[in-house]
């Protein structure tokens, strides 16, 4: 029929681009992950050796641990904050003026590279705003050298993640809350349920689908973090290159993508980089699946 011909016409540009510049690279990366390849002529099959090397090297689990640690610190804070705020707005405890909405969402759209540089300056040893503020207010005698200690660097990256994500998540929750019929709350209020009871009995269960979306997207996004930690650490030595300071002190913010980047484009071992990329994707798939299970726990399908 005539209609189907036009259907193909409309969808084909996208799928041609997708095939050439997304699917082909993804499949070729899978192929490369089984090869020893110098990016030029020499390429030969080595089976699972890249995967075995990566898994035995220790750096994979180190980077996985670092990435998960950043997520474990920041995700609960971001979720509690965003859900709490959205709930309070929805309960008309405050007006959601467009000023707050615009402000809370602003970090989400800001260039990650700039965010990394900005935070490294805010936490600068001598000149950073944070040390100056802490000293002037008398909380701190000596300035802190933030970029030297793993615990500080990990906390700063987690802070960036919270700063960046809570406004975005809040807006998604707010949209979810607006789909809950208001009669439910009115009935609960007549029955004498206070704010906290209403939150537990109505809001949380009704928000299950949107929570699923928020948690899964935050996990997927968080597992791919690279720009902010990389740029946060640039300039903490005398060089300007990202590779020199990749991962920060004791490689504490060396993330999964840092590993993909270093193997592929600093050490020029595309086979291993490809293996890391596939292992990372596996982690993301498993983490998404676990988030779905977590949100839907106790619910019989």
């Amino acid at each position: 029929m005539n209609s189907s011909k036009y259907g193909y016409l409309f969808v084909s540009p996208f799928f041609i681009f997708l095939f050439c510049f997304s699917l082909v690279p993804i499949l070729f990366t899978l192929f490369v992950s089984f090869m020893n390849w110098d990016q030029f002529e020499n390429m030969h099959f080595i089976g699972l050796k890249n995967y075995i090397d990566v898994l035995q090297g220790g750096l994979f689990f180190k980077s996985l641990y670092n990435t998960l640690l950043i997520m474990a610190i920041s995700l609960p804070v971001s979720l509690v904050l965003s859900l709490g705020l959205a709930f309070l707005i929805n309960e008309k405890m405050t007006k959601m003026s467009s000023f707050f909405r615009t402000a809370f969402f602003l970090p989400y759209i800001t260039t990650p590279v700039a965010v990394g540089v900005l935070f490294s300056l805010l936490f600068n040893y001598q000149l950073g705003f944070i040390n100056i503020l802490l000293q002037k207010s008398g909380l701190l005698g000596e300035p802190i050298y933030w970029m030297a200690k793993p615990v500080y660097v990990v906390s700063i990256v987690a802070l960036i993640v919270v700063w960046k994500s809570f406004g975005y998540n809040m807006i998604l929750y707010l949209a979810g809350l607006q789909t809950i019929p208001h009669e439910l709350y009115e009935a609960a209020e007549i029955d004498g349920a206070n704010l906290w009871r209403r939150f537990l009995a109505i809001t949380l269960p009704m928000l299950r689908p949107i929570s699923l979306f928020v948690i899964v997207t935050t996990v997927i996004w968080g597992l791919q973090i690279f720009d902010e930690p990389a740029l946060l650490m640039v300039g903490t030595d005398s060089s300007s290159s990202i590779s020199n300071t990749l991962g920060g002190p004791e490689k504490s913010v060396y993330t999964l993508v840092s590993y993909v980047y270093e193997e592929g484009f600093v050490l020029f071992r595309p086979g291993r980089s490809a293996a890391v990329a596939y292992l990372m994707t596996l982690v993301i798939v498993v983490a998404s699946w676990m988030s779905i299970r977590f949100v839907n726990r106790g619910q019989k399908a």
């Binding site: 510049f21 990366t29 540089v117 807006i171 640039v234």
Partner: protein, 279 residues
């Protein structure tokens, strides 16, 4: 009596909520505020930073402009974003329209393929993508930075949902009876109906492509072809001790995206939430 106690409690919660919101707004905005203000400081006097502007803006501006390619960085970023937005929106919308309103063989598999590409991290094919660009002699051009915006599974998924929900099939049918061509129907009838979604998707692609870092980092060596995020990194290295100028450079690099966002934030946010609730 009972009622007044309750309204007292409500009043207290309202007061507390307001304070929390103000504190969070400060937490969110302080980095931006200090970024723009620190750009007016002489690096040697940054330790005197007290939250008020200083008098060194023009000197820092001159330092930033000492990098002769600074103008190129802006132009390149603008080209990347302009092409990515116009082509990305067109391609995703056309595909969403096709998937939502036409029935053809293989449509379900294509829908599943779109979902699959949404879940796969873009770094998965990175090694091969960079190699592919080199083989095609597209290195040191802006093309590799633009192409990912033309393969956005998210954009197609979102457009498919939106068109399915908002465009009545009768409109297309009555236009066909008037003997309008399919391409004309798409541009003249469908586009205006779905313009809110187009604006939102366009803004998202603008933000993503403007902020893109890893792909240009790996495909562009020629300084004249650097986009702003790369330019900022370069400047960061060249003037690693001149923090005042450095911070002015990052302020300038984020300013366009912040301006676009502030102008269109209502459209962006309402569009996003509409999509999220449906999806």
């Amino acid at each position: 009596m009972h009622a007044s106690r309750r309204s007292d409690a409500n009043f207290a919660i309202k007061g507390l909520t307001y304070i929390v919101f103000v504190l969070l707004a400060i937490f969110t905005l302080i980095p931006f505020y200090s970024m723009f203000i620190m750009g007016t400081y002489d690096s040697y006097r940054l330790f005197e930073f007290d939250g008020l502007p200083s008098n060194y803006l023009s000197a820092n501006w001159k330092t930033v402009m000492k990098v002769p390619e600074m103008g190129d960085f802006f132009t390149n970023s603008l080209i990347v974003s302009a092409v990515a937005v116009s082509l990305g929106v067109l391609i995703c919308t056309a595909c969403g329209y096709g998937l939502a309103k036409f029935s053809f063989k293989g449509r379900d598999s294509l829908n599943r393929l779109v979902l699959f590409t949404m879940m796969v991290p873009y770094q998965l094919g990175l090694v091969a993508y960079v190699w592919e660009m080199r083989v095609l002699h597209l290195n040191d051009t802006l093309v590799p930075t633009i192409l990912p915006s033309l393969c956005l599974g998210f954009g197609v998924f979102w457009m498919t949902q939106y068109i399915r929900d908002t465009v009545p099939t009768e409109i297309m049918e009555s236009a066909r009876i008037d003997a309008a061509g399919e391409v004309r129907i798409f541009f003249n009838i469908i586009f205006p109906i779905i313009s809110p979604a187009i604006v939102t998707l366009g803004l998202l692609i603008f933000i993503w492509s403007w902020n893109s870092f890893l792909v240009p980092l790996l495909t562009i060596n020629d300084v004249h072809k650097y986009t702003l995020p790369l330019g900022v990194t370069l400047f960061n290295g060249l003037y690693s001790t001149d923090n005042g100028a450095k911070i002015l450079a990052i302020s300038l690099s984020t300013l366009p995206v912040i301006l676009v966002y502030v102008l269109f934030s209502n459209k962006l946010i309402s569009g996003l939430t509409a999509g999220a609730v449906k999806g």
